[in-house]
Every structure is written in structure tokens, then in C-alpha cells.
Symmetry: C2
């Protein structure tokens, strides 16, 4: 992989580490308007495409049947911090289907929010599958199954009907066949993840941005998902998290979602563009800065937003005494 350096990590004025990566920015017709690195190579999109994986939940009628609003739909698209509100909404989704956390097959882990994790420990509690950062997506899978007459047991399996519907939605949105030639991995939460070329992910997010090329019914569903995340950005990630903070600042002008191993996807409705990023070494801090640089390039911002957005574009690094020791900045083709 011969990706260019896109991010530099400085300590003082000295470049201490560098991150390489690839990205594509596409319009709704699939035309690549900007790219860097090997943007045609397949990558595992991981959690960056949870919004696409949530399509069957709405399209099956399950979300309406259970009366899911913005909070539930945003949580279905989320990688959350396991904070109390996230856990509560995930539990509420399952309760609508007459189930509880025992229906989740994502595994348990301590909340990824350090504060939530400490609070849970302090209360003498233990993490359950509801604290898993993917519990909203999984609650969505379970609810989709229940409303569709599908037995949810084993729903994480690659051959289970739930995952076949999910894979079909991803394939339709990306325009990429998920067939015998597709690399399939097991995600952190045990569902399959399918390798899709970076520029095809960008195309899918341009469709999410515009609703073009997917038919009028799906276009409505995509808009509903975007609107839910814009209305409830806390549900998509949590306290101090990039996705939540960027969508809180910019509102419906951007939908942005992180994935493990340095993946990031975004939709810019006003520009009709989709963005897909892969930091080659899988590091989140760099994927965030690459994504921030691409948002800044394509989304016009007023002076106040530009100033506020600088903390995503050039994050300051502080040490344990709160002293500023360095910063992270876009580099190479992303340099301002």
C-alpha cells in the first residue's frame, strides 16, 4: 500500500510520528472529485457504515411498528460510549420487542467512555452487552428480525437472514457486489464485515447525502436516518467524541461516522458529496484529522464555525499536567 503521508503528529515543532492513508470524495453519480492514495483498494468499512446497516430496520417497517424516533435511529447508527443514556435507549429498543440484553450477541465490554466506565465500577456494576459500543446497532438487528418474523437467534452469523438483508443493503448502496470474491472478516461485535473499495464507500455516502440513484422510498429512509443523527448527535457517539462534537457544531450539514482501524465516512448533503477515509495504519486520531480536513475543504463555513472547527483540524495534545506538548495536523495533499 503506497498511500501518502496525510497527517503529522508534532511534539513541539518536531514531527514525532506520521500517518499515511487513502481517501475518496465522490458525487452521487459515483464520480471521484478528489482522492489520495490507493482509493480503489477494498477495505473493511467496519462501524463506519452502520447507517447503511440500519436500512432494513426502517425499510422492513420495524422502526415504525416499535415507534422508534430520532434517539433510537441515531443509536442504531452509533458506536457509543456506553454512557447511561446510550444504555437506556438500547434497553428500551429491546423492550419494545419484548426482549432484553440477553438477546444481544455483540459481547460485553466496559464502556469506551472512561467516565462511564469509572462510574459503573464505582457503583459496583459490571458491563453487559448493553455497554458494548455496538449495542444500538445490534438492538436494531434484533428488532428488525422480530418485526419481520425472523428468529433473531444467531443473528450475527454471515448466513443468518438478518445479515443477508444487511449485506444486500450495503451492496445496493455501494454498487459493489458482495459475492464469492469479497473478503469477509468478523467484526469486533461478531457480525461479518465485507471488503468494499474506498471510492465505492464514498459513492454510497454521496447517495446517503442526496438520496439520488436509490429510488424515492429509500431516499426517504436515508433522509430519516440523517435527520435522526443530526437531531441526536449524542446518541451517535457520546461525550467528547468526534462524531458527536462535529455534528453538534455543524448540524444537518454533515453526517459523519467513525469505524475501527482508521475508517471514517461522511455525507455532505448540501454539496451532494460522500467521503470515505482509511488511515493505512488503522489509527483513529489520524482518520479524524483526515476527515476534518476534507470536511473543511468541501463544506463552506462562516467565520465562527471555522474558528470552532480548528480543534478538529489541528487537535492540541496535552500531557498529564495539562501542558500543551504538541498538535496533530493535516499533511501532504491535505496541507492547507
Amino acid at each position: 500500500m503506497s498511500d501518502p503521508v496525510l497527517v503529522e503528529v508534532l511534539r513541539g515543532a518536531f514531527v514525532e510520528s506520521v500517518h499515511r492513508g487513502a481517501f475518496a470524495v465522490c458525487d452521487a453519480e459515483g464520480k471521484v472529485v478528489l482522492r489520495a492514495g490507493e482509493a480503489d483498494r477494498p477495505i473493511y468499512p467496519r462501524s463506519a457504515i452502520k447507517a447503511l446497516q440500519a436500512l432494513p430496520l426502517i425499510e422492513s417497517g420495524a422502526a415504525d411498528r416499535f415507534g422508534f424516533g430520532n434517539r433510537e435511529l441515531a443509536l442504531a447508527c452509533s458506536s457509543h460510549g456506553g454512557e447511561p443514556a446510550h444504555v437506556e435507549v438500547a434497553a428500551g429498543m429491546l423492550a419494545k420487542a419484548g426482549l432484553d440484553e440477553r438477546a444481544l450477541e455483540c459481547g460485553a465490554h466496559w464502556p469506551s467512555s472512561a467516565a462511564a466506565s469509572q462510574a459503573l465500577a464505582r457503583s459496583g456494576g459490571k458491563p453487559s452487552a448493553l455497554h458494548n459500543n455496538c449495542s444500538g446497532k445490534h438492538a436494531g438487528f434484533v428488532c428488525f428480525a422480530c418485526a419481520s418474523g425472523i428468529d433473531p437467534a444467531g443473528y450475527v452469523g454471515v448466513r443468518h437472514e438478518v445479515q443477508r438483508f444487511v449485506a444486500e443493503a450495503v451492496s445496493q448502496m455501494t454498487g459493489h457486489p458482495l459475492d464469492g470474491d469479497t473478503a469477509i472478516g468478523t467484526d469486533g461485535c461478531s457480525i461479518p464485515t465485507y471488503a468494499v473499495p474506498i471510492h465505492r464507500l464514498a459513492h454510497a455516502f454521496a447517495r446517503l447525502a442526496t438520496g439520488e440513484g436509490v429510488g424515492p422510498e429509500r431516499a426517504k429512509v436515508l433522509a430519516r436516518l440523517r435527520e435522526a443523527c443530526a437531531a441526536e448527535p449524542f446518541m451517535v457517539a457520546g461525550s467528547g467524541r468526534f462524531c458527536t462534537d462535529v455534528m453538534t457544531l455543524l448540524g444537518p450539514k454533515v453526517f459523519v461516522k467513525t469505524g475501527a482501524e482508521g475508517v471514517f465516512c461522511a455525507a455532505l448533503p448540501g454539496q451532494g458529496l460522500g467521503i470515505a477515509v482509511k488511515c493505512a495504519d488503522g489509527t483513529g486520531r489520524a482518520a479524524e484529522v483526515i476527515m476534518a480536513a476534507l470536511i473543511a475543504r468541501f463544506l463552506p463555513m462562516d467565520e465562527a464555525d471555522t474558528e470552532d472547527f480548528a480543534r478538529f483540524l489541528m487537535p492540541v495534545q496535552k500531557n498529564w499536567n495539562g501542558i500543551t506538548v504538541g498538535r496533530i495536523r493535516p499533511a501532504g495533499p491535505l496541507r492547507a
Copy 2:
């Protein structure tokens, strides 16, 4: 930085992420016996050189005056998990100088050991500077100052006498002048970190391995530090940590120490070699695999050790359900 790919991260059979890096392996005369990437470029060694930074503690007579044994000396060289034994030994070191945690200037953070962090929260406690992963090094600085008639206040400052002694030891060991041309950064624990070429760090660790070229007195001190860490590997890092586990497995045959931002250094006494590694993107998981591959190449192991060592060379990645989802492996010039 045009470093080669040295590590691949696989999910299933698919390469999901890659890590580039540089390394040098040197003998005690400074001859480079193996290298990859830009091994002449200066890097911040961060915590990988704590053993060198501990030299004034012993050479000043402070360690003897306070009766420090293997546990205290190993902790002075450590980046520990903030587990109870680490905290206890750090507090004990300060008590010998008639001081307590208020003398530490490293800042407080929650224990880097998740289990220790949860236990601390569960007990209703809060982290202090003793839980800081650098508290052993800092306790050593404070004790060195107290035994040497130096006021420890402000000991983290680049112009403070403590740091001038520390910098002199590092300069002597690496053979690299720390002068006006040297990039200086502020480390996570607030002390200065000086940029030193990778191959000169490897040379310093070959000297640590052999005691050659440093005079008989310092040679004894270096042996004492190595022996302390070999005797108390838990003190150097903690539960489930690479440095502790590798030194527990291989005993005095290897001294190995991690640093932030993908730095790793090692000394192989039996081979008379020093190793210095920098993962270009600053990722610890890759620096560990690079170091493991270099240890495996230069340190002869019997069949049992070889088998045991495979978990460092090709670590298995499991997800939240304990399912094996992939592995990390040496690549490019490090491929077996």
C-alpha cells in the same frame, strides 16, 4: 519518512492495516548489524530510555543511601500499570527521602491497567501522581535530588540540575551530543525528551547489554539495572504487558523497554547487541511485533521458548466474544 512496511494487521486472511517503521541493531562498538528504514533519523526516545535516565540515581549514591533493591530500581526504569504493587513501591521510595506523592511533578492519571483502574474506582478512590505510569522514574529523580543536596522542586524542568544530570547520562550513553541543535520536546510526564538518532539509541543499548566503552564503574551500574529488571519484571510494566511478559519468559537474556509513540529499545547481553525501534505512526501494537521479530532473529531460543514466544511474534486478535478475528505479523524485511 520512507520507512518500509514492517507489520501487517490481518482480519481473517485479509490485510486490514499496515505499519511502517525503522530500526537499528548495533554492537557495542556502534556498528550497525541490521537496519531498516531511516535508521539515522532522530526520534524522541520517550520512556524507552528510562534505564539510562536512572543512571544518576545509582551513580550519585542515592540508591544505596536509601537502600533501594531490585524492586525500586526496576520501578525507576518502568512504565507501570498503576497496579497496587507499583503504587506501593513508588510511595516507599519517596518515604525513604522523607517525602510523599506531593513531591511528584508527573501529574495524575487513572492507572493504565484497566483492572487496576476499575478496582480504584470501585473502592471510591481517585488517581494520584503515584498511579502515573512514570511515578517510579519520578520517585527516582526526587530521591537522586534529595541524596545529592539538590532541591527537587521543579525537577521536571529542562534547566533543572536533575534534568541536566539525566541529559548528560543519555548523551554519554548514546554518544550523541544534546546541544543547541537537538530537538527537545515535553514528555507526557512533563520532563524533557531529546531527539536522538535511532542507531545511536541502539548503540546505547548495546552498551547497556555489555558494559563496554563506558568505564568499569558505569558498567557495574548498567549490570545492576539489567539484573534488577530481570529479577522484578512485573515492576517494569505490569499484568499482561509485553515488557513484563517477555522478560518473565526470557529472564536476563533480554532487557526490553517500551516508549510512547511506537518506540522500543532492547539489550541482548549474550549477543552484545542493542536494538532501537520506531514505528513511524507511533503505534504500540506494531512496535511490539517489530521488537519481537528482532529478538527472535538475534536471540537463540530452545523449542519451548520459541513456542511460547510466538504469541509476541504473531499476536492473535480476539473480539468481545473471545472469537479469534485476526492476527498481527511481521512483514517486509522482518518476514520469517
